[in-house]
């Protein structure tokens, strides 16, 4: 199937210096900030930092993709919508996601390269556990919107990560057994 590009409504307000994409305020930050926030959130072992990172991403991605699909009602099939979500990931600089082996029942999503993993490696070298919690949230949020579910419906686990030395980041997507459907 041909790639369906993510072509959102974009505006920059020069009075408020605010960038709006598909009705979400967006901003530019680089791998230094993203990597430091990741490390900050993961560091205290008395809280679940990865859950906070993935949860924050899931909700906002689900919302923005829903806004975009509302603005472009011709993007109807799940395949088209997955293509748009992958292109959104690319456009934002999170790098590449391949959704071809997953559907509403779950499956495997592969990322041949990942901003989060690259940023970590550039700053601190390889690590022992997967770190792309943001990407897990992105996938869960995109799937929720594409298949008409609420955030929390899909569970995404990163089984291999570039920051750990794998060739790609690999995410296992499942329907969450806790419900929230």
């Amino acid at each position: 199937m041909d790639t369906i590009r993510f072509t959102p409504k974009v505006s920059f307000d020069k009075r408020d210096n605010q960038l709006r994409i598909a009705d979400q305020l967006m901003c530019l930050h680089c791998h230094h900030y993203n990597a430091h926030l990741l490390r900050t959130a993961e560091d205290p072992d008395y809280i679940d930092g990865p859950r906070i990172l993935a949860g924050a991403a899931e909700n906002v991605v689900a919302q923005q993709l829903a806004n975009h699909l509302r603005d472009f009602p011709d993007i109807r099939s799940s395949a088209q919508r997955l293509s748009v979500a992958a292109d959104m990931f690319r456009m934002y600089g999170f790098v590449i996601l391949d959704f071809s082996k997953a559907d509403e029942k779950g499956g495997t999503v592969t990322s041949p390269s990942s901003h989060i993993a690259l940023g970590w490696k550039v700053k601190w070298g390889p690590r022992e556990t997967p770190c792309c919690h943001f990407n897990r949230g992105f996938i869960a949020g995109a799937f929720a919107t594409i298949y008409g579910k609420s955030p929390g419906y899909f569970k995404v686990v990163e089984t291999q990560c570039i920051a750990v030395g794998a060739e790609s980041c690999v995410y296992k997507v499942e329907v969450n057994s806790n419900g929230n459907k």
């Binding site: 900030y33 993203n34 809280i47 991403a57 690319r90």
Partner: protein, 206 residues
């Protein structure tokens, strides 16, 4: 002052900053992302809440300190990259007449990043910087999601203010980090009309 801020904001905000076919945004010597302000604020404020729930009262500030430190680290490396980038050399360096202009140049660049509108309110070279933000995303999102705060909530901008002073007046990179420290003395999230950040040499606040 030689810095033409509207021209810088115009130029930077109209650059096509988005992922290439590989999904990478290489600009200003860093790997950029277009990120949701809601992601940052939900992540940071949830992190702070969870940390605060667990820690004893006397170290309740740890979450906030860690988040400000992440922003200092970020700002110091990012803006060093920016000041050595081809974009800076082409666009901003020709406007710089004296070292203090770099503070205005950095402020102008950040005004094009979607962080809201902030301005230099006062600059005593090498001694003190006062920045005022009219609509930081941290304060706006905090008010929307959690209601009125009792203290400043703009941890990212607090850290970035420090990094501006460190880079312009501290020892040469990479030895100048935390030469300055910053406090957010006013914040929209606690009901002030704007957020205000004051940066002074680290020893001066102790």
């Amino acid at each position: 002052m030689a810095i033409n801020e509207p021209a810088i904001i115009d130029a930077v905000s109209s650059m096509k900053i988005e992922g290439n076919e590989e999904g990478i945004i290489p600009a200003f010597n860093v790997l950029l992302t277009l990120m949701y302000t809601d992601f940052y604020t939900r992540m940071c404020f949830e992190f702070e809440r969870e940390v605060t729930k667990v820690l004893p009262e006397e170290i309740q500030d740890v979450g906030k300190i860690l988040l400000i430190d992440a922003a200092v680290q970020c700002g110091y490396h990012t803006f060093n990259g920016i000041m050595n980038s081809v974009e800076w050399k082409a666009l901003i360096e020709p406007m710089i007449e004296k070292v203090d202009d770099k503070i205005h140049g950095l402020t102008a660049v950040t005004n094009a990043l979607g962080w809201g509108n902030w301005q230099v309110a006062d600059l005593v070279p090498g001694q003190k910087l006062v920045l005022r933000a009219r609509n930081s995303y941290e304060s706006e999102n905090y008010l929307r999601d959690y209601g009125r705060a009792t203290e400043g909530k703009c941890y990212m901008l607090t850290g970035v203010a420090t990094s501006f002073m460190d880079l312009v007046y501290g020892k040469a990179f990479p030895d100048g980090m935390n030469t300055f420290e910053s406090k957010e003395v006013k914040c929209r999230a606690k009901g002030d009309p704007y957020c205000e950040f004051v940066s002074v040499p680290t020893t001066a606040q102790n």
